[in-house]
Subunit: 348 residues, 2 copies
């Protein structure tokens, strides 16, 4: 248990007098509270979902008051494993408590209390963020009018868990991990975190998209017959891994993947997702992408089927974006039109 | 260049007087020459393709003389990175030359010369072994009567290469790798090789099969909220990684994955696979498995389409086995019946 914690958040747009236009945007594994815009003097600091959030955009900041929050356990300002534990004067490290999606949702609810927001007009998220949007509708049914669950799944498959476990083993077996207390050793499990990200990244993209973008193109002239970069896809992937390992915290990565593995809102209803969802009062928009093999459309349809069995209000779209799981981050015109249109039905 | 090399091989059955009943079985990434049977006094030492090779089995040792060979660069007896370089008195390590599939095929041809086998009745292989069967038909068209190309692809996709590169990076970035000269440091990059195998293993299985076999089953009672084994699939995967890292050589793993990446028989014909295959004189049997997402049936159909465009003799089967890429190793009755029937058409 944490005796206290900080949550860092950002807001965009203006909360109206009735406080009826607030939208919570939940982030996925590597995201944070900085969902849109740039910081003064740092034009590179574009928020991770900037293409969908802003004046006139699908999540329109002229109409809505949008809240982005860095989840508890994160590494972008909210209390997490790299934060100092006041009781010891040292970073929490491996002693930081494990998080479940419901813990994040409860912490977000406390933030809503502080902001005076009784009811979210919508809770929106993709991937792990979509799981939070789903969990909100179950845990706080009276506080969510619309739940937008994008590129998500009601629980992970064995294959999903297996990929996460390889990523975790890469970090845990890195000699620089020091049982999670690497901060005190002035090091970090950079190699392991890099591998974890490289692996994760493959699962975010579609096979076809990688084929179109990189194919078997070589980085230089001809094959070199060595272990340096030969194929363009290797260059891309290693660069993604390097960049991520430089800035992200490995303990946060570990606990985020565990929250993914644990997520299973139907656990208490013996696997009956419809029973778990029956308490929800929100209207749902569920969105899946045909090229997403990490959380394939069939997984989204499990959510839709459960809601329909209960006679609950759900819209479902299966979109043909090319970008695999990462499609939810992309400015695809059809996808954005869909979100815009749905958001237009939400009263403020 | 290697000044000389050893190849270790095993044979099963009897070579007939006409030397017309010889079959070469090519191994995949982690295979070797021990394709069938057990060694005296070690009943556990069952060959990796024992279920398909033997008296009365699809590759019937009552009819055929079957040859299994450990590829050059391997770690089961043939000259490889762990062999001593006579010029230095030390293991080759990173100085061992890179191998392409065609190098293996040429070495196998020299073995055939020594055995007095001018023409193979068939060259047979699954996965990387299937690529060798394909390459044989192109490089030595007069020496192959039948080519059985199972669960293979004419070349790797960007995604395939990406998975291989993550596996390689796991090994190359392991502090115990020592630039490939770990033998001299009395250590081995065990952690990296273990990760490589865990990752590879996920791609050998189908999502559905993992779901049926492990699902979200827990290893013990309830969630433990820690990084030890929680889910059964984690236990299985880590065990596979541990076992493999104990016995396999990391440098061999590296060069085998590179041979996979490089394989592209149509490179010299500007990507025209039909042109590359046009020299072949063999009859082909191409087999794919619907649940194989590493080398999906569409990849096998590229081979079949190219052969058909040339008017060459090819049979194609797409089988519904549940075991993903690993289906080629499984004793599925339909699969075995297919191979038996095809082998029955081969004159000896």
């Amino acid at each position: 248990m944490l005796p206290a914690y900080d949550l860092v958040y950002e807001t965009y747009g203006t909360l109206n007098a009735a406080k009826s236009n607030a939208i919570l945007v939940c982030h996925a594994l590597s995201g944070n509270h900085h969902v849109a815009g740039t910081y003064a003097d740092t034009p590179d600091s574009v928020g991770w979902w900037d293409n969908i959030i802003g004046p006139g955009r699908p999540l329109d900041t002229n109409r809505f008051f949008i809240v982005g929050v860095n989840n508890l356990g994160g590494c972008h300002g909210s209390t997490g494993p790299s934060s100092v534990n006041a009781a010891t004067g040292k970073p929490w490290g491996a002693a930081f408590p494990m998080m479940a999606v419901v813990d994040w949702v409860r912490a977000q609810a406390r933030l809503a209390d502080l902001l005076g927001i009784d009811v979210w007009a919508a809770v929106v998220g993709g991937s792990l963020g979509g799981m939070q949007a789903l969990r909100w509708a179950i845990t706080f049914p009276e506080r969510v009018r619309h739940s937008l669950v994008i590129a998500a799944a009601p629980k992970l498959t064995a294959q999903n868990i297996a990929f996460n476990d390889v990523a975790r083993q890469a970090i845990l077996s890195d000699p620089d991990f020091h049982g999670g207390h690497y901060y005190e050793h002035q090091t970090k499990p950079w190699r392991g975190l890099r591998l974890a990200r490289m692996l994760g990244h493959i699962t975010y993209l579609s096979d076809d998209q990688m084929g179109e973008r990189f194919g078997r193109d070589l980085r230089g002239d001809g094959l070199k017959f060595g272990y340096d970069i030969e194929f363009e896809v290797e260059s891309y992937l290693r660069h993604q891994g390097d960049k991520f390992a430089d800035v992200f915290d490995a303990n946060t990565y570990l606990l985020m993947t565990k929250a993914l593995d644990y997520f299973d809102p139907a656990r208490k209803t013996n696997g009956d997702l419809a029973a778990a969802l029956s308490v929800a009062r929100a209207r749902f928009l569920v969105v899946a992408f045909t090229t997403d093999w990490r959380f394939a459309p069939a997984r989204s349809r499990e959510i839709v089927d459960a809601l329909l069995r209960n006679g609950q209000d759900v819209s479902y779209a299966e979109l043909g974006c090319d970008y695999g799981h990462d499609s939810f981050l992309m400015p695809d015109p059809t996808y954005h039109k869909l979100i815009s249109t749905y958001m237009g039905t939400i009263q403020t």
